[in-house]
Structures are given as C-alpha cells and as structure tokens.
Symmetry: C2
Subunit: 567 residues, 2 copies
C-alpha cells in the first residue's frame, strides 16, 4: 500500500481530549477519530490493527473448539426481565423504542440471548460440551466514557459462553478459555496478570480477570510479594489481622462531646487518637432497608463485598433523612451501640474494645466501646477494601497495590441463567438437569489500545509485528530519485506477494517528517531506500524497538525482513 493511496492524518500535537498516552497516540497516529463522547471511527490503519487482534482471538477460540456465532445487538426487553437483569444492569442499558413503542435494549452482553437459544436447541447430554463465541459490537451507557477506546459507549467485545453437563465438565471448559486467553494476550505482545475478581452484575461463583499492568489502569489490584496471589481490589481478601487491643479497654462506654466533628480525621484529631481506634459506621440502604456497616477508622468499606456477601445488587449509601431516622442523630455521629437496624462489622473489628464510635447523638461520640459487649452485631464479615501492606490471605506475606487495565474476564456462572431460561438437558439416565455455564469476555478494542499503552516511547507507538497495521514501512527520503522509488516499489511488491503488510511512504515530504511519522506510527520494521544507500548497493533496516539501523546488501534485504517479521 502506498501512503498517498490511504489516509493517515497524523497530528503533531497532543489533542486536548486525550489524557493517557495510548489515547493520545491513537489520535496522533491517525488510527481513530472521535465522533462523539465515547464514540470512535476507526480509520484504515486503526482498523487494520483491530482486525489483527480479532484474528488472533478467532484463531485461538477456534483452536479451543469454540464455535463462532453472531447475535443481534438489539434485544427484546422480555429476556432481560427473565434474567432479572433489567433492574440490576439498569445503569448501563440503552433503551430503544420502536414504532409500536415496544422497548428493546442495546446489548451490553449476551448471556440472555445465548441461554435462550441454547434452551431451545440443546436438549441432550450428547450435544455438550459446547462453547459459543462472537466478536461483536456492544453498547453501554457509561457514566463517564474516557480514555478513548478504554471506556467507550460502543465497543467491540469477544464474548463466549460454555455449556456443560456438570460442574467438573464446566471447569474443563473454563480452563480451556483461560488457556486460550493466556495465548491470545501473549500473541498480542501484552504482559498480563491474572487476578481473582468480583463477579458483579454477571454473577456466578468465581471469576478471573486478565489485567494489563499499567499506571493508567482504572482497576486497582493487589498482589502478594511472595506467593502467586493476586486479586482485583473489588474482590481481594486479606489475612485476618491480629486483634488490636487499645488502652482503657475494660472501662464502660462514656460519652464525650465532639462538637461539629463528623469525619474520622476530625474526631481522631480532636481526641488525639489513632484513626484505627475509631469504628467507622456508615448507614446503607440494602434492598431498601437501612443497615449499618462497620469498619475500622483507617479502612474503606467495599460495596462489592457487601453486595456479594448479602447476595444482592441493591446496595447504596443512605440519604441524610434515612440516617437521621435510623440513628436519631445528624449525619456524622452514627455508631453501633443501641442501633435498632441490622449491623454488619468487618472481620478486622472482631474483639475491638476500648474503641471510639459515634454516639447516635448530635456532637457526641462514645469512648471505651467493646463491640461484643456493647453492640448487637449481625455478623462479622470481610467488608473492607484491602490496601498495601495488608497480609496475603494465602501466605501472610505483604500485599502490594498495582494498577491494571481489565482486558479479559472469565466467569464460572453455574446455573444462574440456565435455571431462569429453562436450559435443561436430559442426562444419560434420562433425568432432567440444568446446563452448567461459564462466560468469557475480551474487550477487543480495549485490548488494542492496551498494546499501545504498554508499548510506546516518547516518539510514538512501538507495535509488535502481530498486531501492527503494517509490519514494514519503506521510506524513500527523496521521491524525486527514480531509482529509489523503483527499488522501493519492487521490494514492496515482492514482500506483498509473501503476505507481508508493507506501507510505502511515497509522499513528497521532507525526510524528517517521514522518519517522525514512521516512529509515531510505530511500524516494527523501517526500511530506508535512498540514493546514498543504493550507491552502496544496500538498504537500511531498523527495528522500531532498536536504537540502531543495520545496512544490508539489497539482494539480502528481503530475506532479512522476512526473518524479522517472524520474531
């Protein structure tokens, strides 16, 4: 392909709309353009790279025995009522009304569609195992679309769904997808980490996320510095901490005036007490019912854990009125003693005594609280977010905090959907059983941008050959020199015949512009053919990732390029 025949609108400056490097580079290199918030058009080079990611995914899915299908984006509302996710996924669903005012939804995911299909088409153990996948456009009404393709309203996902006769069989299907994902990200040139994750609105028993480690990542991750434990902060656990014993832990509760002191910092500063001695008491509405959640003053409550442990998706902080009604005091003075609503405490609070809490009374806290003695705790559970320095739940070594970009997520779903959609099969004995499911997603467009996020320098993108829009760019510094142009065209034609993607920069531009654009675009292999090099019967070959170029005799050039393309 000649540069003049395609369109590569490179930008010299960083566009204002972009915050992270990969987003800036995708715009600067002319790979994508913004149509509206969270909506992007892929220009020819961006699409070429995207297709390469898609093809890697397709090859590995096929190799794992998964069957490609294609489901509609528009989905009837009814199947979302069946799954009971019309409510729980409300915050990302786009609603579409047709001319008869019938409601449809734009699919953010396809568990409903595929389970409904399987319920109709699979009825016998003989038809399983089966895994279906699609590479398809998804829609989510994101609160805050940002970072380009990282969090968009419309994006491409590979979603897969496995159907098995039993739990062990489902585990094998899960493992096959897990292994395929590992290969896919490797082939895309990505360094990923697999972490335990929250199952969220998808549901199911267990899940893993594939994370691209990057400081710009939206997900917090902890990993153990000693063992292989790693988990998303939404899900991560910690070893049970040693119970803190505070001074005066045998005294009875005693009120103390804390005028206008509402936050942990204010109260601990005022009372000259370490924050961890305080018991943070937040009132939530859980399924609409006021409920108190307690954690130590130096910790954060993890709402994902509340939702998972209490088996609901309906968890929200209570409004001021509810708090005042439940505690009898203005916001900021809640505490567990004497509360008449269910109280759940973090496991780290077990045995807390000599602690400080709100007194459920304006401008007042309580000293010397013994949680067991003075409050009625429904149960102690893991309710707070792990942080750096906590101990590994497996080996007690220290946990470290990192940032990551979620590119893949695999779920053991079990029978959540198959029961709702009556996806029932007859086993060998003729007995009816629900199909056991797994589901598996890869953010395809996000994966593409993650490659750039992880592989770039000050000059631009550094593509791996596997997903580069073109593996080779041939630069002719002086397009007025006919022999250079002819040699370049001959080399391009010959490489193209061998299925190598080549871009020939035939623009009438200064050499500096061409070299800068080649670096910005990040083609893995740059070939320079000039009057000077031809005089020595040679061409210059430089890897984007290397410092220096090599000078190769022209008749060995092609075989050297082919060799480099394989690595």
């Amino acid at each position: 392909m000649k540069w003049s025949k395609t369109i590569i609108p490179t930008l010299r400056d960083n566009p204002q709309e972009a915050e992270i490097d990969s987003h800036k580079l995708m715009l600067r290199a002319g790979l994508i353009r913004k149509l509206g918030g969270g909506l992007y058009t892929f220009l020819p080079l961006g699409l070429r790279a995207l297709r390469k990611v898609e093809n890697i995914i397709r090859e590995e899915m096929d190799r794992a025995g998964a069957l490609e299908v294609l489901m509609p984006a528009l989905q009837p509302r009814e199947i979302w009522d069946t799954s009971e996710r019309y409510e729980t996924m409300q915050n990302v669903l786009y609603h579409v009304f047709d001319r008869q005012k019938r409601e449809m939804l734009l699919g953010p995911t396809h568990e409903e569609v595929i389970t409904d299909l399987v319920a109709r088409e699979i009825s016998s153990y003989r038809q399983m195992p089966k895994t279906f996948y699609q590479i398809q456009t998804k829609f989510r009404d994101e609160i805050r679309p940002r970072f380009g393709l990282m969090r968009a309203k419309e994006f491409i996902m590979k979603d897969a769904y496995s159907f098995d006769t039993g739990w062990d069989e489902a585990d094998a299907s899960y493992q096959a997808m897990y292994d395929a994902y590992t290969r896919i990200f490797q082939r895309c040139g990505l360094r990923t980490k697999t972490v335990e994750a929250d199952t969220g609105a998808i549901g199911g028993k267990w899940s893993h996320e594939f994370m691209v480690m990057a400081d710009s990542g939206e997900d917090g991750i902890v990993e153990c510095e000693a063992c292989s434990y790693a988990a998303n902060l939404e899900k991560a656990e910690r070893a049970l901490p040693v119970t803190k014993v505070f001074p005066d832990n045998d005294k009875l509760p005693e009120e103390i005036s804390t005028p206008g002191m509402r936050t942990i910092d204010e109260v601990s500063g005022f009372l000259k007490s370490e924050p961890m001695r305080l018991i943070k008491t937040l009132i939530y509405l859980i399924n609409g019912n006021p409920t108190a959640i307690l954690v130590a003053g130096d910790r954060e409550i993890n709402e994902h854990k509340i939702a998972r442990l209490l088996e609901t998706s309906n968890v929200m902080l209570a409004d001021d009125k509810t708090i005042e009604k439940a505690t009898g005091a203005p916001v900021g003075f809640a505490g567990p003693v004497g509360l008449n609503i269910p109280v759940y405490a973090d496991i780290g609070l077990r045995g807390y005594s000599g602690a400080i809490t709100g007194a459920n009374k304006k401008d007042t806290h309580l000293l010397n609280v013994d949680l067991e003695r003075d409050a009625k705790i429904q149960s102690y559970m893991d309710l707070c977010t792990v942080k750096e320095g906590d101990k590994c739940p497996r080996c007690q070594a220290s946990l470290k905090e990192k940032r990551g970009i979620e590119v893949g997520h695999v779920f053991k779903l079990g029978t959540k959907y198959s029961e709702k959609f009556s996806a029932i099969y007859l086993d060998e004995k003729g007995e009816k059983k629900p199909v056991v499911m797994g589901c598996y997603g890869i953010g395809v467009t996000r994966t593409l941008q993650s490659v750039i996020e992880q592989s770039h320098d000050a000059k631009g993108i550094i593509w791996p050959v596997s997903v580069a829009p073109y593996s080779v760019v041939i630069v002719v510094p002086n397009t007025g020199h006919n022999d250079s142009v002819k040699a370049a065209e001959t080399l391009m034609a010959s490489l193209e015949q061998k299925k190598i993607d080549v871009l020939l920069d035939d623009r009438d531009e200064r050499p500096g512009v061409k070299f800068n654009d080649a670096d910005l675009l990040g083609f893995p292999i740059r070939v320079v053919i000039s009057e000077r090099s031809l005089a020595k019967n040679s061409i210059e070959i430089k890897l984007r990732s290397a410092e220096k170029a090599e000078i190769i005799p022209i008749d060995l050039g092609e075989s050297r390029i082919l060799e480099l393309c394989k690595t």
Copy 2:
C-alpha cells in the same frame, strides 16, 4: 470439522414464521434463528457463509482501491439535523436516549458520519480521489420486517462513500464501484440485473440498483424486451403514449348523477365507459399543501415520482377533511374542473378531451371534460407507475414486468452532503470547492439469503462453492465401520491442510437422515465413504447440483475434489 462438534439444528418441517423459500431453508438448515421480529442470530454454519460473502466484498473493494474503515452505529442527533435527514428518514430511525437524556440515533446509513469526517480530514485536491467502505451493522425501524434477512431491523451492510474533486472524477469512482459490484455478485454465484432506480431519501442525481431476479422479490422492475433498458418501478419511465381521443370530445362539460359511485370501477361500470376515459383525481398533502394529482383511470399514481419532480420528501395522501375542504365534496367526487389548489397531471393526460371526472359535488361526475379547456393544470409531468405493455422510453418496444430483490444500490450524490457539512477542498489554483460524492451499498445479509432464494430445489439449498459454509461434506453411512471412519478422517485432514472447508458427518444417525441433511444444507460436494465403496477401493463423489454420483478410486479422490472446488 466434525458434525458432532458443531451445532446444526436442522428442522424437518417448514417453520410457520417463514413465507419465502430462502427464509424457510435458512431456518430448516439451522443457519439462523429468530430472536425477535426482524432480529436473527447467525448459527455457526450461517455465519461461515456470511463471512464468505463479506470476504468476497472486502477483496473486491480493496481491489478497487477502496479503504476499509469502521464507524459507530450510535450517532449524535446533531449530524442528522445538519443533513436535514432527521425528518426525512424519521420513519426508519431508532432513537436512543442516554443517561443525560441526550438523543442519539442508531445509524441506518452513514453519509453524515463519513462526510463530517472527510470535512475535517481532507482539505486538498492532492488527497483525492478516496473511497471509504465499511462492513457494519445497520438498524432500521421497519414497518414490517419480513422474509428473514431480506427485511430485518438489524442487518449487515457494506456501505462505501467516494470523494472526488469534480463530476468527471466522481463518475470514474462510480464506475469503479459499479464494476466491483458486478464482480462481487458474480463471485457469489448470483444472476443480477442492473436497473435505473429512484434515489429516495439518500438523494443525489442518479442511481442504479443491482437486482437479484426472483418472483419473491419485493421490488417491481420493468425491462425492455428489445433494448437494455431496465428500471425499478419507482423510477421507470415510458414512451409518451399516443393521445386518446374519446367520443363527444367537442361537447361542453355536463353533470351526471353518480349516486354513491366513488371508485373508478364503480363509475366506469355505472357509466359503461372504459376506465381510461376517467381522470383519477387524488388530493395529496405536499409539504403540507393540498395538491391534486391526475392520472388516467387505468393507471396508478407513483408517489416517488411526485417527490422527485416536486423536490420534496413530504408527500402524503390527504385526509378526508382536507379533501372535503379542497373540493367542496365528500371523498370520491374530486375532479380538476374549478379546483382552487395546484393541479398536476400525468403526461398521458395531455390533450385529454371527452373525458369523465368527479364534479367536486356529492354524487356527481362531469362528462365531456377537455382538460386544457376546462381545467387549470400547473404542469404535465410523468406521475404514474409504468406497467407491463407500456412502451420503452428508449426504443418504443414493449416493457415487461419482473420482480427483483435489491442487493446493491449505487448513487451519484454530487454535493448534497459535502455542502451541508462544509466538506470543502482547495483545488490546484487554491480555490475552494465542495467535494463531489458518491455512495454505494450492498445488503450483505440480504445478499447471502438471495443466493439461497435463487439457488435451491425441493430438497434444500444448492450453494455455490464460493459462499458455501463448507465446500465438502463427507458422509460415513455407518459410523460403526472403523475403516470408513478412518478413511473419512484422513481425507478431511488432508483437504483441510489444503484450505478446503470440510464437514464430516460423524453422527450416529441412519444414512437416510445424513443424506437428507446433506441435501438440505446444500454442500456443493458430497463424498460418501462406506464399507461397500472401500471394498472397491473407491469413494463416491456427488455434486449437489448434479443428478448422479461418480465413483472415484480412493487415491484419486482428493485431486478430483480439489478440481471440483475450483469450478
């Protein structure tokens, strides 16, 4: 691929939901399944065939120098206001509201998005010509989705857009797409006819449709039995008919009582007059203004022609109240004499005298009307739909009526969109000019189904090799016979290595079921490997399109299959 590893849910009976053969066969062969009205899931074999159609399109687009891009399905409303199509395409637009209640649309086509992009990225004559294309999912709120993929709410389209510096250059781009389309449909094994067509809501100066001829087609077409003239009925013209001279054509108009006679049939029957002697007068609202349209009593008004000639998209039959107000009479008695609204007459009515019309008075018609003398006609235009037996506008031979399925449509758009989106470039002299556009669509999913509509028999589909889900099916009648199974697996592995798509029917089913399914699925080449054939050291090869099988020595089998796959 082994049959048992994929999913091919064939149906013995015709599903009730399907009316035309291709729709029935797509369901029966397990290629697609319905999710909701106009919404279909592609099962593995349907998707394989679809991908082959897509790849043929992609290869021919690339060969024609078009550049592949990918635009969002979600589009901001604003660009549809800019193009002024928010109103004119209202009847197919799906509206989507996000969490900020901002309106977006699901793209039924992408002229707005691409022209907006080009306005930003192309500014010089040096950057043209350029043609962009995408293979992408479109959405249309169809009044009556039907015939499976033929008229769906969500479907895949290849849309392309050309950008040129001038009209002659745009003609060359148009011709390149026209030629590519011809090759695409040929490669898909389709017999198509190219017809002149209406430009409708897309607009522009000129357009051609590529029609798959089929009795089930939704489009009426006329073609000349002598010359190459062919056109969609929406657009087709006829040679000017010889003016009819009726008896009593020199008398003055005279009222006649026609109690309750409102239709042409009623009046012509009652007055014992041939229908063509009557002047059919219909009152339309054109841009909201009552307007009378006249055609001969034996002809139909063509609203597409009204819209085109009066340069509006706002043409609708008037309601009863408007008719009564405009004519002073109940519905059924309108006529041109004495009307106080604009009156347009079909060219066939020029010189009409001795004619019969409504009298704009209840239960009354007028005899002896001379249109020139008695009525005020704004202008005579081509306003009626051509019908079988009309004369060719080019050569005066007879026109014949046919049915067709529109699979492709190419438009010379001109500057309609580039002016609205300020897609302006600087020419060689530094002068600003609007870019000249063309646009080009192929209904990809419809094309796939059209192949079946045109190529099937009572037993099932007859795929051409180019788009068959698998080129070869290997049937082992008795899967208990190990040597047959082994020979089949060896043959499959060897053919797959040579990139031939092979399906091995390894099911434990009766031979009759397997043969029937092979015919239903329509694989071009069927290979049977049985105990009996192996005893003779041979295999049986049968083309789906042939009556008889051939017996081939086993060691020549593969080369024979490879040969057949090439044809």
